[in-house]
Structures are given as structure tokens and as C-alpha cells.
Subunit: 441 residues, 2 copies
Amino acid sequence: MSSRKPYAQMSKAELSSEYQQLRQIYRKYQGMELNLNMARGKPCREQLDLSMGLMDALTSDADLSCEDGTDCRNYGVLDGIAECKKLMGDMMENNPENIIVYGNSSLNVMYDTVSRAYTHGIMGNTPWCRLDKVKFLCPVPGYDRHFGITEYFGIDMIPVPMYPTGPDMDMVEKLVAEDEAIKGIWCVPKYSNPQGYSYSDETVRRFARLRPKAPDFRIFWDNAYCVHHLYDDPSKQTHIIEILNECKLAGHPDMVYKFASTSKITFPGSGISALATSENNLVDIKNQLKHQTIGHDKVNQLRHVRFFSNGYTIEEHMKKHAAILRPKFEAVERIFEEELGGLGIATWTKPLGGYFISFDGTKGTAKEIVDKAKKAGVTLTPAGATWPYHKDPADSNIRIAPSYPPLEDLETAAKLFTVCVRMVTAKHMLDALENAGAEED
Amino acid sequence: MSSRKPYAQMSKAELSSEYQQLRQIYRKYQGMELNLNMARGKPCREQLDLSMGLMDALTSDADLSCEDGTDCRNYGVLDGIAECKKLMGDMMENNPENIIVYGNSSLNVMYDTVSRAYTHGIMGNTPWCRLDKVKFLCPVPGYDRHFGITEYFGIDMIPVPMYPTGPDMDMVEKLVAEDEAIKGIWCVPKYSNPQGYSYSDETVRRFARLRPKAPDFRIFWDNAYCVHHLYDDPSKQTHIIEILNECKLAGHPDMVYKFASTSKITFPGSGISALATSENNLVDIKNQLKHQTIGHDKVNQLRHVRFFSNGYTIEEHMKKHAAILRPKFEAVERIFEEELGGLGIATWTKPLGGYFISFDGTKGTAKEIVDKAKKAGVTLTPAGATWPYHKDPADSNIRIAPSYPPLEDLETAAKLFTVCVRMVTAKHMLDALENAGAEED
């Protein structure tokens, strides 16, 4: 279908013909009354089925006691049962002593971490609510729910460009060293949301060696996709340097909060989340946490421990997820290549893990592409969502989430998406030519 | 053992002999090397065993879908699944539409409610962190974890006397009408912590008709023991007026946040909690909650729904709890009566529900009684814990928690406690006589 001639090299007539053709195809899709969703990083039913054994991990004849004898059914244990700290430590590559196990949502932990800094300050520093200005660095495109938290707390968000190696570290280093109001940076260091990029060794090392002006500057290291590879072949898996240890080596042990959860390992919303950080930070956090709760759901912690036993079992479990997700990512990439390759109107990432593909169209087209797709029955993440304040200055980035729809639906959705991209882009270029012509008159 | 002669009527010699006798008995207890705990309202093992069926409510062959088709395993549903709202509504006597189902801890919901008011304000009012002064009314003696939250946020706590009918409403009405800085009051309206008092109809009606000066004044109505009767006989069960409805009738629909949980129904720490409030408040809360989480643990919500089906089943289930708890409360009351009755040195409550007995000794003895008990191996809630800032001005109140120890241990602990009470009180009175004598010289 693709003419393979770059749009920029097309004559006005060719572009016009292309546009008319695409309109026809688009109308056909509209007639199909699709109702597909590529908006959120939701696991699909087959993925959820992988963890049904979790439901049998604890039955009424089970002993719900921890190794140390604690009855998991009762109150207590603020920071999580020992065996679950160990399990999460295996997964997060951290010492169990550095871990607090929380409830079902790492987003909740991140929100509470910002909220605590806002109300009470970090390790004795001024609460952020008493400061005139608090700023966060936001690598872009990034995760909308991260930006949602900082926006909700009135924190100024400064976009920082993302590269395949991670954020622009020259910029990060310069800004945090200069400005005491910069208190944090949102990071998804591995298989980033939405690009699927992973931070290079150099990037992680430079993070650990930041010299922030603010003593309460913290790296919010959301390792959401730490074991979420798409390929079993180790050479196609990404490993990143463990940040807590690196910060310690660099003499900044307290500079990072690291988050993870089993949301995309077992059941989203019914998994467990965890935070790993330095001892000083743990003391600071627990001093607040003890007022907020007596403890998180230990039965669910024990359930996960009994289901998985250890980090190796998690790795094996994740291969089953990969077997379901991989064909979906590959299908989208194949269709994008077939339908958009060589046209010079779009780029997209080819992740080795995580949940998203980051798509960039021609400047000023993203909103319209998402709108057109919506009108033909395919819901995408709203354009702009990947930027602070929902404002993508180039209006070019769209996050693609291939996980949820069945493969066949996904292929339909991806094809329709490429039709929208080409149609909107062709129209934009035609309009530009019109305008240029008008100006010449 | 009890001489039944009031201590106040004893001669110095009688008191001295009593004291020496008690010291001997106390030393015997010390020799027993006890290790008993009456400090916290923890259910005992037999109570936890009542809910083991919960572990079989959802197995790997179960359909984890809601009635509306929502897959509980996946992301979504910010305010709880419909059938769980209904279940909690049954229990809380509220319309499901007024309910948000949360995670495992109502304490967490209360903390977050205060925190949200502090960071963002209530329904458009000034965030509390921007105010010079925020105050809460604290009926005393009360629940230490409530006071812990307000203290942590630097909120001034004003003690309000508690009577068997509830807080001193004359004082509450006057203070909230006068002082705009008063933003809330902590209430445990039914089987109060620690007295086991329940608010009278008049008290609840007066609450609903408060005319607070602060538009963002809220009643924090912690209905922790809403179905936690000790007796099956309805004439021995307390029913209180439903506060949301009463506030609505009184023209103040937004004035109350009502909290409850299944912590002392199924498993503490692995149950579900809920908040019931007006539609305006719900909108306000959800506007924040959506930034904090994608949703709470729906699988656990469904698990509770499948286990209980409805409010009637909860009532029946609570009778089994009562059968375990009732003998413990009665044993403590019997021993207190046997050992302390008629001595004129102590009073205690005789609750029809809840988890605590409130004990009041002679002025200035509580800390020492708790200390003596501790040194003989019985841990009690620290004296002062039932007051804001841990400061009981009379140093007389001690919270007794009979639920956790086995009956036999509880009897030993209660007996030792009465020995400590008598010994410490006798010593205090002797010291007072000495001092009076010295002054006369």
C-alpha cells in the first residue's frame, strides 16, 4: 500500500492523490465500527491468567505464619514481612534491609513520597509546602501519572530531553547544581515509559554523581519494568547499573528513592509494591509511615512469597509474559515499518522490554492523529499526555500501548493508526503547500 | 483477698499492712516470669481462624469478574467495585453511592484525609498548611492513633470530656461556633475507644446540627466498631443514629467523613476499609485520589464479597467473634469487681461492644501502675496514650485491651493489674499521709 516515496519528495498532485486514497481507506475503517484500546499499559487476559496460581497459594488449611512466626493475619509489621522483603530485594537487586514493602500500588508510594516531602520535608529539610517554589526535572516524553503527581502539588516541571541512553545528563547536572528549588527528577530507567529506552552505564553513573544544590534533592527512580524483558535471549535483555549501590559508591547514599511493584507481574491492583532506599531515608520514611498505617497487607505479601519463592521464579514467570507480549510489539513494529517506513513522516522506538512504543509524527500532527483514530474506534493515549501539563510543544509524540488488545485487534488498530498518520500528515503538507502558494501570489 | 474496706477509710496502719501484703503478692507475680500483653486491640488467634474461609473464597478456577463484567485482576475502578460498595454499605448503613472502598487500613484513609486537607484544602477552602493555626477537638480519653495523626500534622488538639452519652456537646457546639481554626473532631461514636461508650441519639443529632464557623470543619466519624457487639441479645446491642443521613436532614450534608473497615471482622491488615460521605465530598476526594492510585485491591474486595455475600452474613460472623470476646471482657470485669470493688480507688467501664475497657485509677497513679505491671511481665497501653500529646493531666486513665491473650493468661494479667493498682494506690496514699504528717510537725 505504501508508495515508499517520501512525502517530502511528492508533488502536490501526488500528495493530493495519496490523501484522497487514504480518506477512502479511513472511511472503510469507520464503517467497521471498531472499539479498540491502545491507551494504557494494561496486561491482557492471557497475561492475567498466568498468575491464577496465586489464588491457590494460600488456602484455608495453610499456615499463614511467617518464617519468624509472625501471624500474617494480624496487625503489625510496618515495613513488610522479612521473606517478602527478600523476594522484592531479589527482583530489585537490593538488600532486603533497604526495602519497605507497601500495598498494591507503587504510584501510591510515589504520591505519598512527594506528599510527605510537601507536608514534612525530607530528613529535616524544610517542608516543600513552606517553599516559594519547588521544581522537578521531567525527562520527556515521560509517564503521565508521574507528571500528574507533581502537577497536583503545584511543582514546576522542567522538561529534559530523553535520548536512547537516558535523559540529557549535561542539562540535568547543570540544572540541579544551579537551582536549589529543584528537588527531584522522575526516572523510568529501564524500558522507559514511553520509549522503552534504558539508561546507559554512563547515565546511571552520572546520576549517582550529581551534585545537587538542594540537600533534599532526590532521584525518583521508578524501576517499573525491572524484569519486564520482551526477549528471553540475554543478549536482547537490558541490564542497568543498580542505582542505590552506585549512589553509595559515589558518596550520595541518600539521593535516590527506588520504586517497583508486581503490578505487571501478577495482578495490577492486587500485587505488592516496594521502595528501596538508604537507611537514613528509611528511618525518615518510617517515622511518617507509622502514623499512616499499622502495616500493609501481609497476607498478600505471603501469598506472593509462596507463589514465587524467589527471584528466579519471577524471571521464569516473566518469560511467559514476554511470550504473549513479544508478538504484539513485533506486529506493531512490522505494520509501522510496512505502512510508514520510508515515508519520512514518522519515527518510533523498538523496545526490548516494558509496555510501550514511543511514536513521533510530523510536528503538529499528534493531536489530530489521536482524534482521527478515536473517531474510527481506536482509543490511544491522548496526545500531549507524555509531557508535563499535557503540552507537547511539537505536538508530535504519541504513546502506543500494544499489550491489551488481542493480536488480531491490535493489528487492525495499528493499521488504522498508520492510515491516520499518513492521512493527517498528507493533509498538513497539502495545507502548507496551499499556504505557501497563497503567500507567493 | 479484697478487704472491701475503702482505702480512704483505712488507718495509716491498715494501709501500711495492706501495702506490705500487696508487695509480697506482687513479688510472687514477678517470680512467675509472665510475658502477657493487654496493650493493643488485636484479635486473638481463634478470632482470626473464623475467617480462614476467606482464603478459599477465590481459587484459581474462580471467575474473578465483577457483576458488571470488570476483571478484578486488572487495573481500574478508583472507588471500589459495585458489589463491595454494597457490602460495605450494608455494614455501614450507607447508600453504596456514598462509599469509596479503599485498601487494608481505615487509619490510612483517615491519615490521607487529613493530609489532603493539609496539602490541598477541603472543597476549595484554604489548604491547612497555609493557615497559621489548625485545631481539632479530641474527646478524651480517646484513640491514640487518631491523636498521632493530628499531632504529626502540627494540629492543636483540644481535649473534650467524654461522657457515657458521648462528648460534652455544650463544649463542642460552643467551640466550633466560635473558632474558625477548629477544623475537625475525632469521634468513635459506637463502643468508643477506650470506654466502649456509644453516642446517644441526642448527641448524634446535636453533631449533625453543629454550626461550625469553619466551612471546612468535618466530623471524623470513625465507626470502627459498627458491628462489633459483645452480646447477641439485641437489647444488649447498641444502635446509633446514622450520621450521614442525619447531617443531610439537618442541612449539613457535607459535614462528616465516616470511616469503617473489616480489620476486626476478617484479618487486621488484610481486610478492606471504606469511607462514606456526601457526593460533594466524594467528588473532592476522588479528584485527589486519582493522582494517588489507579485503584485499590479489587481482588481482595471481591474475596470479601464472595465470603460474606451481604450484611446479614457479617452480623452472623460477628456473633462468633462475640462468643470469643465476651468471656474475656466478663473475666476482666469480674476480676476488677472482685479485687477492686468497694475500695473506692478505681472505676472502669463495662462495654457492650468494641475492643476496650477504660480504667481510671486514683489521680497520679496510672503511669506507675503501667510501669509496675510491665516489670512483672504484663504490657499495657502506655499511660497517657489515651490523651493528646500522651499527656493525661490526671495521670489516671489506662486502656485495657482484653482481646488478645488466651482467657487463662488474661485472668492472670487482670489479677496482676489489680495488685499493681492497689499497691501503687496504697503507696501513694501512705506517702500523702507521711507528707501531711510532716507538714503538721
